[in-house]
Amino acid sequence: MGVRALLAAALACLSVMARAQAIITSPAPDKVAVTVYRAPNASGTMDLEWLQGFAIVRETRRVSLPAGESELRFEGVAGGIIPQSAIIEGLGVVVEKNRGAKLLSPGTLLDSLLGRRVHLRRISKATGAVREQEAVVRASGDGVVLETAEGIEALRCTGLNETPLAQTEPAMLSAKPALSVRLRTAHPMAGNVILTYLSSGFDWRAHYVATLTPSGDKMALFAWLTLANGDETGFANAETMAVAGRVNRERAEVLAPEVRPISLSCWPSQRTHEIPLEEVVPAPPPPPPPAPAIMMSAERSEDIVVTGSSIIAQREALGDLKLYRIPIPVTVAARSQKQVALLDQPSARLGTLYRWRSSFANEQNEPVDAARILKMENRTDHGLGLPLPAGSLTLFAERNGRPFLLGEGSMTDRAVGETVEVVLEGSPGVKVAQRQVRRDGKEHEMEVVVTNDDAKPVHFEVRFADERKPLSSSEGLVRRDEAYWWTAMIPANGTRTLRIRYRVPD
């Protein structure tokens, strides 16, 4: 061995020493802010087991670091973290950010012991005597092969109570996917580090509760902001926000955590009464069972927390989006749903109308319910005039001081100045029928009859999705949005009839 080789060996030694860097663990955030984003194309209620939105989590952690190179591990981050989105502020020179997904599990533990010494413990069923001996793990992939002083043996193919015991916890494996940074500081430092990352497994919805006034032309409009955390990590006393509007998302590849049970397949071990008659060739050993989902054993607590509506989320503009901030710190618990007031407009004007979508050739001999539509102008002089995030709406009236459900519908994001329409279920009192009353070659005549059993007149619209002009109509039709519209007031307890003549296209 020459001088150069010696030098190289010494250098190798040094580099091995250098890798023995200080490991500092930050167990949990000291302060946390969570901003929840809706799932794209979100509608209806949230499936708490399958939340398609996401959140941005901003954690402030107090750490103290020694001078020189160290590894800082962040524990207690959300399980749905997208590691490549992590931003770390307030540190010195960050050499690299790492996230290991090889987790400590019976299978990976045994894998890490491949070629290493373990204790093999056997307990006699007859006497309870404990015997321990040294063994080296020779294979752990599909069944476990051990080498002992006596020879080669297979684990758990013996019918004995036996188990391998590791002597040290392998440093490469951790309980949860761990985010860490390797960094270098000139002097020891203590201070705040801010860790920001995206995490999947969150979502929120707006839900509007409208209560009609007795007159029927005004309502009290209240909305809940309902946010859900499907992650196993909760955030205590978090500054909590929700963002309305659509943001573009891309597919993010996140390495799935590797966890495995120990595979304990043996050699063919059928006994004489078990051997099937027709089997000639032994079947290959079964593949190791799939890794169980790590969430499986996680406890489910679906607390639904409704905080008092005296606190209303504060709205601010965030670029092209709307950000709603819950003004006090709240706890976003793991696997839970939380509601705060989103808006409260005590007196908003609304109109009700009935609409039926049809075409000239449509025939509907038996009268059917027409869709009931709530129409609001999102303007200040109508008691609104504020951004309305997409969500569902439940309409109530009051009867003898008790709420009475009138219907449910949904709406998309509506900006200030827009018209909001919410389609509810039809009401049984307003019906429409369309019949063919005359046919003369290619000229057909249709009759549309609308009836109203209410003691008040109602607005009614029929939309004929046709391109060609009718030959004649008993009432005026308006061309709008690629269709012909008939708009009519149906008198109280009355009927209106429309007759149209049109030519069937050649």
């Binding site: 490549q84 992939g141 092969v145 080669i152 943001v247 059928q270």
Partner: protein
């Protein structure tokens, strides 16, 4: 050399090896068999590994094993070079050591049985010859034939040795011819799957001042099943053609399909050369220092840090055909910037995801959207669609569609209502697509720019909290 290495490593691992009766047969994770490793990682889940190891070779022909190569090694790409060394043959063995394989290979051999008396716990030893291991194990003990554990009682089977061809992990072995005996360095090169990288960008956009700060991170992932210890790492930006593999090595997971070509957002490709190392048309990104790439690890290293680059928000709406929308549609909100020297980011950008953040009222950055970009030369104009605007909307309307009497052509009058509920005036690019054939615009309230034969664009200024209307008449064949 090896002794010395052991000596210094022994400092940390000493208690483990103190009273060693059985020598561990494989290196422990802290003592990898890898030598001086250099890894070159390409984007599409592929890497070139160079591993310089010191081998103690006898003179002449010998079989050498190379543990700790990638579990997803492509054995057909392996080359080994060394001074005065000739390759005789190269094997990649994946006959794995399992209890079943151990028993199958023991057919015809003699093993030791240790039987346990269930009442007293007393052990008795016997020698048995394995006759067959089909379904169950049939063996001969003295002059009797017996099925192993047919009585259901505990019985240990002790084999004398592990057959040479059974291995704990797929193993590369090379038979080589050495000119002289002794320690010598050899270099092993191979391609492997399971390693890939892409870029991740963090853009903090200051809308008021029209500036943004961009940090770029290289994100590399290792799902190869093997750790690469203390490796020199080089990342190559660009696609290298790859021959499809016809088979999978046992135990290797099929690599994830390469991501579809990113949608881009590049308006115009740049022509400037970035101040980065280049080779064969590819940009190279060497990591500044050696690093250990653990298995199942995602690692990020910074490579770009630009502050105060000009950037602007713009709005685009595209109407796919001459049709109406029932309700007003949100326009897409795009971030425009350049990668040129001087007025832009001043670098080439390897493919990846750009995440855009803006500060909220309290000054904390909030996420406002992301988009993938492709490999972007320096000097390119970029337009990233980060999301949709809540306040700026367009409602396209077909007002009138009539057949012209004189010719078999149609006249379509369109109206585009652009509304802005925001407190600042905006300009919206309204694009009418689907103008295929010889469509002419006969009348319009703002002059359109014909982008392509299929599409026309209007720049529509919209006042704060106001609306604007564009009307246009199209003369179409259908």
């Amino acid at each position: 050399m090896r002794k010395l290495f052991l000596l210094c490593c022994g400092l940390s691992a000493a208690p483990l090896f103190a009273q060693s009766a059985i020598e561990p047969v494989l290196p422990t994770p802290s003592r990898t068999a890898q030598g001086d490793v250099a890894v070159t990682i390409y984007n599409e889940n592929r890497a070139l590994v160079q591993d310089r190891r010191e081998l103690a070779l006898p003179g002449g022909r010998s079989r050498q094993e190379f543990p700790d190569v990638s579990a997803q090694i492509r054995p057909e790409t392996v080359t080994l070079t060394g001074n005065g060394i000739g390759i005789v043959e190269q094997n990649f063995d994946f006959d794995l050591l399992t209890p079943a394989a151990l028993m199958q290979k023991a057919v015809g051999e003699t093993v030791t049985l240790v039987r346990m008396n269930p009442a007293s716990g007393a052990e008795t030893r016997e020698r048995a010859r394995i006759l067959a291991a089909n379904g169950g194990v049939v063996m001969q003990i003295g002059d009797r034939i017996e099925v192993l554990r047919d009585d259901g009682l505990p019985t240990r089977v002790i084999f004398e040795r592990v057959p040479a061809q059974l291995r704990a992990r797929p193993t590369l072995s090379i038979t080589l011819d050495a000119a002289h005996a002794g320690h010598q360095p050899v270099t092993l090169n191979y391609l492997t799957g399971g390693l890939g990288w892409s870029a991740d960008y963090v853009a903090l956009f200051d809308e008021l001042n029209g500036r943004m700060d961009v940090q770029g991170w290289i994100t590399l992932t290792n799902s190869s099943g093997t750790a690469f210890t203390n490796a020199r790492t080089l990342l190559v930006a660009g696609a290298v053609n790859q021959v499809q593999r016809a088979y999978q090595v046992y135990g290797a997971y099929p690599p994830p399909p390469p991501p579809p070509p990113p949608p881009g957002g590049m308006i115009r490709a740049g022509t400037q050369t970035a101040g980065r190392e280049r080779l064969g048309g590819f940009y190279l990104y060497p990591l500044p220092e050696r690093t250990t790439i653990a298995d199942k690890q995602t690692k990020q290293v910074s490579f770009l840090n630009v502050s105060g680059a000009p950037a602007a928000r713009a709005y685009e709406y595209r109407n796919g055909w001459l049709g109406s929308a029932d309700v007003a549609q949100s326009v897409s909100s795009v971030l425009r910037f350049s990668t040129e020297r001087g007025g832009g980011l001043g670098d080439a950008l390897p493919a990846g995801t750009m995440r855009v953040y803006q500060r909220d009222a309290r000054g904390n950055p909030q996420f406002v959207g992301e988009q993938q970009i492709g490999h972007t030369p320096m000097g390119s104009s970029m337009s990233l669609a980060t999301g949709e605007s809540f306040d700026v909307k367009v409602r396209p309307l077909v007002v009138e569609r009539t057949r012209l009497n004189t010719s078999p052509r149609w006249k379509t009058r369109m109206l585009y209502e652009v509304s802005n509920a925001g407190p600042a005036p905006v300009v919206v690019d309204v694009v009418q697509d689907g103008l295929w054939g010889d469509t002419r615009i006969t009348d319009e309230t703002i002059k359109a720019e014909r982008l392509t034969a299929d599409s026309a664009r209007w720049h529509v200024p919209v006042p704060a909290n106001g609306r604007a209307v564009v009307s246009a008449t199209f003369d179409t064949r259908f």
